[in-house]
Amino acid sequence: MSKKIISVENLTKTFVSKAEELTVLQGTSFNINRGDVICLLGISGSGKTTTLNIIAGLDEPTSGRVLYGGSNIGEWTLNQLYDFRLQEMGIIFQEFYLLEHLTALENIMVPMILAEKTEDEAQERALELLTQVGLRKKAINHPEELSSGEKQRVCIARAIANYPSILIADEPTGTLDSKAGDEIINLLLGIAQQRQMTFIYTTHDPYVTKLAKRIFLIQNGLVVENGQSSFDNIEFDEKNFKYKFKGDKI
């Protein structure tokens, strides 16, 4: 039986601006087990990224809590959170967030340098990772010289550099064509399986969910799972402009 690694309890998130208050998460709860491959599916603005950010400790919930190994990350100090992201979590951002003044190789070295590895060690491992993601030849290229797919590969390599136990990816195929998207998802799944990592990714494209073990839908600020984690079991409700599991009523 899989062991529970992350537990999300009654999570709410409300964004407050001068003009309005917007609640994107409304007391949702779910669990994630070690080795899970989870896809969060939802339309744009449904709260996918917010959910990932809160899980990664990048953002704070308005209420509710996220437990990692039974410990509430909301009660952690900033340094504990930094260490958590550095050692346990690999993050792939929707907008890549590669450091433009560093080469592909150096971008991959960043988390290792942050983890106080020597430059030589970091460089050696970064080259391995670049080979793994098929970008060995682009090692000294800067991000502006890379295509979106290549940038995404660099991001993947950067995310797994410190052997994290959890890998989260926000819309990893969002800026890619379907072919490149497939390649990236396959690469990510391959890496996740190989390293037995828990892999959580978001998408607004139901096609991308087909390789996930579990599919979570975000509906009305709630994360929903019906146990039938299958791409074929999802349909788009055009009337309400939302995804739903077949047969579910919204």
Binding site: L58, Y82, Q87, H101
Partner: protein
């Protein structure tokens, strides 16, 4: 749709005029909104503009206003500016009438130098009883010594003239000269006290007569009848006041002899008699008997300073010429030297304000950079307007509108600040205390030159407008830029080439001006108008050289910083630090005998040695010896280098640990790099450190010169000549005094040059005087004075006289026309001198010394005493260790109340001190300039660091998202900025030293009035440390804002930040 959309797609209806009007209003509102939204940037730009313009305006307003006040005040302190005499006495009335109507003349007063006779018992000359006539002899040898007649020099002056003459007098009693009143000198009063055996004080009644004729004693005119006093006879006059002459720069002094110098201090031993008490017949008889009247001329200060203060000597000369041309028989004496000195000092003081130039240039530069930063920040705004279809003209128009508004506000503020600073700074004068009177006077005299304000405004605002428009246009119309210069590298090459060409031109201009300066300096003995002007001109171009120098140095700094990591890696990874073996193997670093053999200079007569067997042996030994020396030298050097490199590695590792990865990559980056700071920082550090060093060098030199001019531990100046040997003895007997030296003095001539001949005890002068290396150009004080002491007919001459008249050491020469002594004496030149402690420069007018003559020589005192000269006015004394100088000085003052002991300023009336009351001295100008440059540097470091790091906010958020700690990021930032600050300081300070050394070679005329003690570089370590610390603090302040934002917002917010 927001307001910007409205702007670009406005299609308002209505007539053309209403559309134009509403469009204008709309644009105005938009401009105002932009300014409001960019409050901080706007404020920085306004500060930069106000700073630059107000300094320029200050200098203009200050110049125009100060010179009026200085000229008026200075002329007011002078008794008169001119006296006129003529040998055709009967034409004197015509001269009076002529000058009376000259617009430049404000007041003309008569003065008759004559003699007063004091008669205690009415020894009236009675023509009926001529036998025996009263015979006059010197006071100590008169007919009846129990009731002698006393004589004194006297001046018959008009009662109104006393109001001017009294400016130079210290008077006990009243300074009036009404009918029946006389003013008596302190010395005369003391002499009369002896004669009458009564206390003479104001209110005392004296029986006195004024002579109408000066008897010629050489022709035996010793009797009373020759004084022609019969008309008025003796009458009783009340002493209204007893005076002491305390002035230096006065026409009366020049006319009659003033204090301790010139004609023997006649006015110090004299009386002043009211001309109104003389009848017309008296005056006629005086005229007839050759007592020549003179006219004292007071000019109208406002007219005299017309055309500026520097025009004053010319205006005065023009008056002299007008009179002398109209009356060929007349002679006009003007205080040209003093007015010229004032004009020079004024010119120097204001030229010295050109040392503000670096500050102004820095302020303009700051404005340019702030503008660039602001426009860079608004690239997105420009892009947005473009995307919405705004034409280039509309966008440029918007920025132009902002420029107009900001410039208008800045201009108004600058004029206000300019006026305020122009009044405030001088109000603090040289004593550092605020003077409300001076502050208010500046407002009374306030003069603003619209022309200069216009020029300066156009200059500063033009630069600002140019930078704004060029930047905006380059963003708006990228295509133009790209078509013009195809590649980025191309742009860089063109840019660099243009800068190099401009640098070459600036260097050429500098060399030209510098050579011009050097040639002028070589021909000049003083720092006059031309030299001051040449110095200023060279300074202007030199600032350009410094700017370019710093620019290219900053390129080097950035290059080195970018290569540092590679160097470190290469050094430490391969462990290729210098070892002995490496040294042995490298040809360049190993000095071999062969190399030495090749250099002819370093090896003497190698060929000769080679010819002999013995020579070959010596050669072989020499070869072996040098190889061994080189071998061990290299070995120990390598140990040292290894040790240092290993230490560096440790420091490097300890300092950066795992952070060097980010630090060096940030240094290497081309965008958002702190390397943008380098140029400005190198420039600021260079300018700042050179300002500090020029200031400290100047202060050091002034102090050294003051000490040198003072001459010894104690300097004693007597107002009246006193017996030297008598007072040497008295002073030496005071406990604590080791040795005393008196200067016997007599005036004589060399060629046609009047010289003051000082008789001294050479060994004593050597002991007591604070000699410097530069005193004697060809020898030292030891040799020169020992030689003089050993050679009784020796003479030490100024270098100027020696060169002009072809005298050299050992040659015989003559000094002629000793006043009251022999016609000539033969001397042997024993040394050539530039200056001496206590006497100042040997040739030329030294305005800081209390003497009028332009030339002096030193001889042995026995020669002077042999001529019967026993007197002098100067003593130097050596004080034993631990003695209280103040107590000794007080005891010396008790010896003779006319002694001035250790005067604070040797010439208290030195016009330079007078001017510094209105214009802060150069040291203050440099200090203010340095403070301003420091402030500019701090502001720039803060805003630039903040701007650059703000752009990196997202990067830091990414690092934190990946697990980087905030504290580590902070440390990285601090290390990175520290590297830049330290690198710029390391390069900037040596550049500052070079700038100082180069600058001082041509800036001296602006810094000091004469170079008596050679200026040598003096580094003010404390100020440099303050500069370094403030810059580091500024950098830390610049880091605070981005760090605060990071702490304030969560990572997600920062990741989304628009940067």
């Amino acid at each position: 749709m927001n307001e910007k959309d409205d702007f670009v797609s406005s299609d308002a209806g209505g007539s053309f005029y209403s559309r134009v009007f509403y469009g204008f209003l709309f644009n105005l509102r938009l401009i105002w909104k932009n300014i409001k939204n960019k409050k901080r940037s706007t404020i920085i730009i306004i500060i930069g503009l106000v700073f630059s313009m107000s300094i320029l305006f200050t200098s203009s307003i200050w110049t125009n206003t100060s010179q009026k006040i200085i000229a008026d005040d200075y002329i007011e302190t002078l008794d008169y500016e001119m006296f006129i005499s003529t040998f055709l006495i009967n034409r004197m009335d015509e001269v009076y009438e002529f000058v009376f109507y000259d617009p430049l003349v404000k007041q003309a007063d008569w003065i008759f130098p004559t003699v007063a006779l004091f008669n205690y018992e009415d020894k009236v000359y009675d023509p009926e009883d001529d036998d025996p006539p009263y015979r006059w002899y010197p006071e100590e040898n008169q007919d009846n010594m129990t009731n002698p007649l006393s004589l004194s020099s006297a001046f018959v002056v008009s009662s109104r003239s006393i109001d001017r003459i009294k400016l130079n007098l210290e008077i006990e009693g009243n300074a009036t000269l009404n009918s029946g009143e006389i003013l008596v000198s302190y010395t005369q009063a003391k002499q009369l006290e002896k004669v009458y055996n009564e206390t003479i004080s104001p209110g005392y009644v004296l029986n006195v007569a004024i002579t109408r004729r000066i008897p010629n004693t050489d022709e035996g005119e010793h009797t009373m009848q020759y004084f022609d006093i019969e008309e008025t006879s003796y009458e009783n006059y009340t002493i209204s006041g007893i005076y002491n002459y305390v002035g230096h720069n006065s026409i009366v002094e020049r006319l009659v002899g003033g204090g301790s110098e010139g004609a023997g201090g006649i006015i110090l031993d004299s009386i002043l008699f009211p001309a109104e008490d003389m009848t017309g017949v008296d005056l006629f008889v005086m005229d007839s008997n050759g007592i020549l009247p003179r006219l004292l001329i007071k000019t109208n200060a406002q007219l005299l300073r017309e055309g500026g203060i520097t025009q004053m000597p010319d205006n005065l000369l023009a008056l002299k010429e007008r009179i002398e041309i109209r009356f060929f028989h007349s002679f006009c004496y003007i205080i040209s030297q003093e007015i010229q000195t004032m004009a020079d000092e004024y010119r120097r003081s204001f030229s010295a304000t050109s040392l503000f130039l670096p500050t102004i240039a820095s302020a303009i530069f700051l404005t340019v950079l702030s503008t660039q930063i602001t426009i860079k920040r608004r690239r997105e705004e420009i892009a947005f307007l473009r995307s919405r279809g705004a034409s280039s003209g509309q966008i440029v128009g918007l920025f132009f509108g902002e420029f107009i508004l900001i410039s208008s506000v800045s201009l108004v503020l600058s004029i206000g600040f300019g006026i305020l600073i122009a009044a405030l700074v001088p109000s603090f004068g040289h004593d550092g205390f605020f003077s409300t009177t001076l502050f208010l006077r500046y407002f009374q005299y306030l003069e603003i030159s619209p022309y200069e304000i216009e020029i300066f405004s156009v200059l500063v605002l033009g630069v600002y407008l140019g930078v704004t428009l060029i930047n905006v246009i380059s963003y708006v119309r990228k295509d133009i830029q790209e078509s013009f210069l195809i590649t980025r590298k191309g742009q860089q090459i063109v840019g660099l080439s243009m800068k190099l060409a401009a640098f070459a031109l600036t260097i050429a201009g500098f060399i030209f001006l510098y050579l011009d300066y050097v040639s002028l300096a070589g021909e000049s003995y003083t720092f006059g108008f031309n030299l001051i002007s040449a110095s200023s001109k060279t300074l202007y171009v030199f600032i350009g050289v410094v700017f370019f120098g710093c620019y290219f140095a900053s390129l080097g700094v950035n290059y080195i910083l970018k290569s540092i990591e590679g160097i470190f890696k290469r050094i430490f990874r391969r462990k290729s630090y210098v070892t002995f073996r490496n040294i042995k193997g490298t040809r360049k670093s190993y000095i071999t005998f062969l190399d030495i053999e090749k250099t002819r200079k370093s090896y003497v007569a190698l060929q000769d040695i080679k010819r002999t067997r013995q020579g070959l042996f010596v050669l072989a030994f020499f070869d072996f010896f040098i190889r061994m020396v080189a071998f061990y030298a290299c070995y120990f050097a390598s140990l040292g280098v290894n040790y240092i490199l290993k230490s560096i590695e440790k420091i490097y590792n300890r300092t950066f640990r795992g952070k060097s990865f980010f630090i060096f990559r940030n240094i290497k980056r081309t965008r958002k790099s702190l390397a943008d700071l380098t140029f400005f920082l190198v420039l600021m550090v260079c300018l700042l450190s050179s300002s500090i060093m020029i200031r400290s060098t100047t202060i050091h030199n002034l102090e050294a010169e003051d000490v040198y001019r003072k001459g010894a531990d104690i300097r004693i100046q007597s107002i009246l000549p006193v017996n030297i040997s008598e007072y040497e003895e008295k002073i030496s007997s005071i406990p604590g005094i080791e040795k005393t030296l008196g200067f016997y003095s007599i005036v004589a001539s060399i060629g046609y040059q009047n010289v003051e001949v000082f008789g001294i005890n050479a060994p004593d002068y050597l002991d007591i005087g604070r000699w410097i290396d530069e005193s004697f150009p060809e020898t030292n004080a030891d040799n020169a004075l020992t030689d003089l002491g050993a050679n009784q007919t020796g003479i030490i001459l100024s270098k100027y006289i020696a060169e002009r008249l072809g005298f050299s050491v050992g040659k015989t020469m003559f000094v002629t026309d000793f006043r009251g002594g022999p016609f000539y004496m033969r001397f042997n030149v024993s040394a050539v001198i530039e200056s001496a402690p206590g006497l100042g420069i040997a040739h030329g007018h030294d305005p800081k010394m209390n003497r009028i003559t332009n030339e002096w020589v030193l001889v042995n005192k026995e020669l002077i005493t042999g001529l019967g000269v026993e007197n002098g006015t100067l003593f130097l004394a050596d004080v034993s260790d631990g003695a209280d100088v103040e107590v000794i000085a007080e005891q010396i003052r008790v010896l003779n109340p006319l002694f001035n002991v250790n005067p604070e300023k040797i010439n208290p009336d030195y016009i330079g001190y007078f001017i510094t009351g209105y214009i802060p001295p150069i040291t203050v100008v440099l200090l203010i300039g340095a403070i301003f440059v420091n402030i500019i540097a701090i502001v720039y470091v803060v805003i630039s660091t903040e701007f650059i790091l703000e752009q990196r906010r997202r990067e830091y958020a990414v690092l934190m998202a990946l697990g980087g700690r905030q504290s580590n990021i902070r440390k990285q930032l601090i290390y990175e900025i520290s590297i830049f600050i330290l690198a710029t300081i390391i390069v900037g300070i040596p550049l500052g030293i070079i700038t100082t050394l180069m600058g001082m070679s041509f800036l001296k005329p602006l810094l000091i009035s004469q170079e008596v003690v050679v200026m040598t570089l003096h580094i003010d370590v404390v100020s440099l440390l303050i500069m370094i610390v403030t810059l580091i603090i500024a950098a830390v302040l610049g880091i605070i804002s981005p760090i605060r934002k990071q702490m304030k917002h969560d990572i997600v917010h920062e990741l989304r930040a628009i940067v």
